[in-house]
Amino acid sequence: MLTVKNLTFAFHDKPILDNVAFDLQDGQVIGLVAPNGTGKTTLLRLLCGLLPDAKATIELNGVSFHQHRTAYLKQLFFLENSNQLYADLTVKDHLEYVKKMWKSKVDIQKTVAELGMESYFKKKIKNLSLGMKQHALLAMYIVSDAQTMFIDEPLNGLDPTSIQLFEQIFAELKAKGKTLLVSSHQMDSVGRVSDSVFFLKDQHIHDVTNAGQDMMALYTQTFLQEAGHA
């Protein structure tokens, strides 16, 4: 379980998060939704320590981020986007590195087969399309076998078939007890995979349980109508 308390962050004078607090239970998929520039990626970065925040309490399964950073990071995986892959290395190089560093027992070949990546498994990242890179990214998440996964815009550049595959993978990971915090703009997909949705608005998180409601309508109601009124 991920526990976050007192998370506040401002970029220069612009407040991004104000005293945010939430819990993520094991075996949950949570959607993270907000317009661009609101702070979704900032929140994910803060939870990984990529941005400094000394005051917040962040614990993953009882392991404090501030006190036992390496043990904390061992339990999570986050790679912001495919630009953070090494262009001159192959997909295989990336997966082998993740497996070693996260000391995972996940079978790389099995993961590659599951994601249909056999044809470009040994190709360099710079020679892959955006969709292929997204598959490589997801494969890294799976191979890390981390308990908690922060996934930022995973469906960008994917065709409908791949989107279905990704959603299926998310469901499988959830079934294995993994916790997924998935940032996305694809509200229909968020509606299909999430147990609850975090709407990030006015520096706070509004936790909405997914009871099958129309997420796009909810998004419009939360962000667009208010903007329109303003």
Binding site: R45, C48, G49, L50, P52, R69, T70, A71, L73, K74, L76, F77, F78, L79, E80, N83, Q84, L85, Y86, A87, D88, L89, D93, Y97, K100, M101, W102
Partner: protein
């Protein structure tokens, strides 16, 4: 940590920068080679000119002395002294003339005979200096070599030619462009390529290695790896050493092979004369010099690596990293070190950047020894490593 090292090597070993660094090292070491290929070597002529010049000076003095009618005892003594010097130098010039003689069949013998004649004159100058008779003493001023009329200077020259004659080695002047490969590579480090230039090439490679992750944005991936960040930084240091040392050695190998193919191989026993204490003369051969030079230069490179690593923790800008390293390297220039008190200089890493001068104890500041220098460099490197450790422990971000 070996997983991280393997990954870092995989990331970096095919980088274009490695090729650029290899070319830079190779070009620096081949400057004299290209010069030798395009222009004829003049070192024999230059040496001959130096012998003739010395003799001409003496002959001019002789002529003036001989014109004095009814010379006094002092003048006669002076005349005798000049005559003696002239005899020595005439022998050298004559021996050297054999090199130009079409009937000379064994050039090595002819060169050794010249050396014997030079040795005789150098021994004479040593005796004169020991006896305090330095006034009017002519010392042969060979091109590319400091003229040193002191007792130590005379001792060095005598020791040098004694060694050559004893080991039947042909003299290879410092200015010789087509020097045998062994001398070529040693002279490149001794006279032709400043160690500071070599360090500058290291600085470029370091700047690239230590900033590339921040410039390409892959640093965030490394920062979420469940491993101590000091390990990641240390792995990068190992990558630098594993990649760059072979590049430097390969460049040396290319320069050596080019010289060996075009000229000769030569002998590793060729002497380099120096004085560690400023009183007694010692001799090392060029093989020993090369080993010491490479070791000392690498110790300096390790120190510069720590500087680059430390800077990289605060800036991912390539130019900032390189300029910071270059600024530190320039602190090792003799013009800068001349302003540092002698008692302090030996404890500064910058005192050992001019590796060639340090090994030959030719710096303006006192050097206790090469081993001491390596210890100082590694100690400072450890201090910088400790600073990096403290920073990474505090912020846990590389």
């Amino acid at each position: 940590m070996h997983e991280q090292i393997a990954f870092d090597l995989k990331k970096n070993w095919r980088a274009t920068t490695n090729l650029v660094i290899l070319i830079a090292f190779t070009l620096l070491l081949l400057i004299t080679y290209f010069s030798a290929r395009s222009t004829a070597d003049q070192s024999d002529n230059d040496n001959y000119g130096a012998y003739v010049n010395a003799d001409t000076k003496i002959q001019n003095e002789l002529s003036k002395l001989q014109e004095i009618k009814n010379p006094d005892a002092a003048t006669v003594k002076k005349l005798q002294k000049r005559m003696k010097q002239h005899e020595y130098l005439k022998a050298i010039v004559l021996a050297h003339t054999d090199l130009e003689n079409v009937f000379t069949t064994n050039m090595t013998d002819a060169r050794l005979n010249t050396e014997k004649a030079v040795l005789a004159y150098e021994r004479y100058t040593l005796r004169e200096v020991k006896a305090g008779r330095t006034k009017g003493l002519i010392v042969i001023a060979l091109p590319g070599k400091k003229t040193d009329k002191t007792l130590l200077g005379r001792q060095k020259d005598v020791a040098y030619y004694e060694y050559l004659v004893k080991h039947k080695l042909v003299e290879v002047p410092a200015t010789k462009k087509d020097a045998p490969a062994n001398n070529y590579i040693a002279y490149a480090f001794l006279y032709n390529v400043s160690p500071l230039l070599l360090l500058a090439v290291f600085a470029v490679q370091l700047g690239q290695l230590f900033t590339i992750e921040k410039r390409r944005g892959t640093i965030n991936f490394l920062n979420i790896v469940p491993s101590g960040k000091l390990r990641l930084l240390s792995a990068r240091m190992v990558s630098f050493l594993v990649l760059t040392i072979p590049l430097f050695l390969v460049a040396g190998g290319i320069a050596y092979a080019a010289a060996a193919k075009s000229f000769e191989v030569g002998s590793w026993d060729y002497p380099i004369v120096y004085s560690a204490d400023g009183r007694t003369v010692s001799i090392m051969n060029i093989g020993q010099f090369l080993v010491m030079f490479v070791l000392l230069l690498l110790a300096v490179a390790v120190f510069i690596m720590m500087v680059s690593a430390l800077v990289s923790l605060y800036s991912g800008n390539l130019a900032v990293n390189i300029v910071a390293s270059l600024a530190v390297i320039l602190l090792g220039a003799p013009q800068v070190m001349a302003h540092v008190p002698d008692a302090l200089a030996r404890f500064l890493p910058t005192a050992y950047f001019q590796a060639n001068s340090v090994i030959l104890h030719e710096t303006d500041w006192t050097i206790p020894g090469i081993g001491f220098g390596v210890v100082v460099l590694l100690a400072w490197s450890l201090v910088l490593y400790a600073v990096c450790t403290a920073i990474l422990r505090r912020r846990e971000l590389i």
